[in-house]
Symmetry: C2
Subunit: 331 residues, 2 copies
Amino acid sequence: MSVTIKDVAKMANVSVATVSRVLNKKSNVSDEAIKAVNDAVESLGYSPNFLGRDLRKSETRRILAIIASTEQSFYSDVIRGMEAAAYAQGYDVLIATTQNDPNHEMHLLGMLFSRAVDGAVLLGPKLDANTINALGEKHNIAMCLERLDNCNVLTVTIDNVKAGRDAVNYLIRKGHKKIGLITTLQRSQSSIDREIGYKLALKDNDIPYNEEYVYFGSYETEQGMTGCEYLMNLPSPPTAIFAISDMIAIGAMNYALSKGYRIGKDLMFMGFDNIAYSHMFVPHLSTVEQPCYAQGKLVIEKLIENMKADTPDHNLYTLSHSLVLRDSTGD
Amino acid sequence: MSVTIKDVAKMANVSVATVSRVLNKKSNVSDEAIKAVNDAVESLGYSPNFLGRDLRKSETRRILAIIASTEQSFYSDVIRGMEAAAYAQGYDVLIATTQNDPNHEMHLLGMLFSRAVDGAVLLGPKLDANTINALGEKHNIAMCLERLDNCNVLTVTIDNVKAGRDAVNYLIRKGHKKIGLITTLQRSQSSIDREIGYKLALKDNDIPYNEEYVYFGSYETEQGMTGCEYLMNLPSPPTAIFAISDMIAIGAMNYALSKGYRIGKDLMFMGFDNIAYSHMFVPHLSTVEQPCYAQGKLVIEKLIENMKADTPDHNLYTLSHSLVLRDSTGD
DNA sequence: CTATATTATGAAAACCTTTTCAATGTGACA
DNA sequence: TGTCACATTGAAAAGGTTTTCATAATATAG
């Protein structure tokens, strides 16, 4: 039905082996043969069947990036970094989404077990550390952006404890003592770590931890509003708020704005991620920036190294973050 | 090296054919054989090699979605729709990004020609209509969100001309006669169509078209600011502005806000896409909403139909949009 | 001019499945 | 008892490529 290497061989009057050699730019093939093959390929409109090729070579040169959804736009820089690193070595990056379903995440990893891809990168997995450890023993897996406790799989991330600590320390340095935290109920390790950082910063400055100042919501902006409403209705409301994501912070600021608080004066906000909207929203949001592109690039480089290595690298790499200071902290 | 169907067969004391039958849940296999095979699969940790399977069956049950980047978060609903439709029929959806490079788009389509996937959906292609037409003759291609003039490939989109016309007619009905348009220099068909709709709405109401009122920028929010600045510095500035995307509209509002315009009163804004931030930003943005999920779902359903059909459907399907009215139009 | 590298080539094996085809065994039925 | 249908099974082919191995042809060295 469809045109195969045999058809090309026949038309070019050579063997399939020769066609294969030309296609793969091997040495030891005459100029005439090269021309004959290329002409035949052209006139037949042939393109090689990757299933055959990949089966024979038992490699696909494809890497799967598994992500909850494409909604969080800050993933896009991570992916750009991943692709840059991959293309540089002749790999393609494919993205698949789990919609936060661990079963679906496992299903997608099936592509790895079944050799439909050579490796996989998990960006914020929903599976637990034990499961991932077990899979990491036998397959080329890496994690990016999000680490997992007790997980010895190659991981590239930032130090979220330190990042949270730096963010809150900055607010304290600005003169605040009553600092609210809006975080998520659904615990990713990064949000746990940022919360730990929040507590450490308080301790650094001998400010007692007050659990009333912590609101647990979800990642949606609406929850930022609700969280801010809760905090500001406390008997002694906070004067600064750290939100573990910009989405949440924007929601929170939105509420504060509607109630007439003067942001950056009466009330300061610090977000996390430095998404594009964080400096479009008025007032501009101060935030913690993490090196998305660099993390994506590094995780792919390390993963490809691992695919070639006999003893894979299962280390944790942490890149450094930085504070971006804008209106919402009065800067 | 890695465990194959042969190893399973050996351990289960059956032929590979029987193993295959068990794995594919075929009839005509004894209960003992089923048990023996399943036990062997379990204890060996076997998972079938998809390359072998796909080659034999010459189908992969995978569909590639080709997208410029994952930055525009409103793609995420389209993808959700695509996945829902795909999974319902046992297909997986893989996403790959072109970063706006037509060469890279062609490279990714190579996965289709080379049978690494069964079909492809283009969301806003950078290739021209002729090229896509040619490819569509031989392969299972569809387009979504974005149509192309003179392109007879299966397409699912909305009527962007009518959408632009409806948006601007609404502003006119609100009493405006001087209406600015912020669009993009880089012409996607949807932005061209929305501009056509803008002009038609003016004509509907006997308002002369004034090219001074049209600003050509890019998709970035910053360009929305610049565009708004340009428009408001005209000798006779517009009293309402239609932006062809919410990102641009938010940038434009941002500028207007900083200059003290009272949005929804002195100056009205209408965006496009109804992204999540459009109702987080204060004031809330009025916008045109397109059915993202439904478009994604439909395009996959039609594409899968085409893969089975002998005479493929190359029609254009248009779903309906709606106006979402909020603060920025004084609603 | 012979002996030996070197280059160019093709036949066939290998990669791992699924599926076809033929064979075996079982039970029913006359 | 003999025939037939049916369920279960395995050997082998098929799918499209790459790669190994052997061979033939040519070039190089002595």
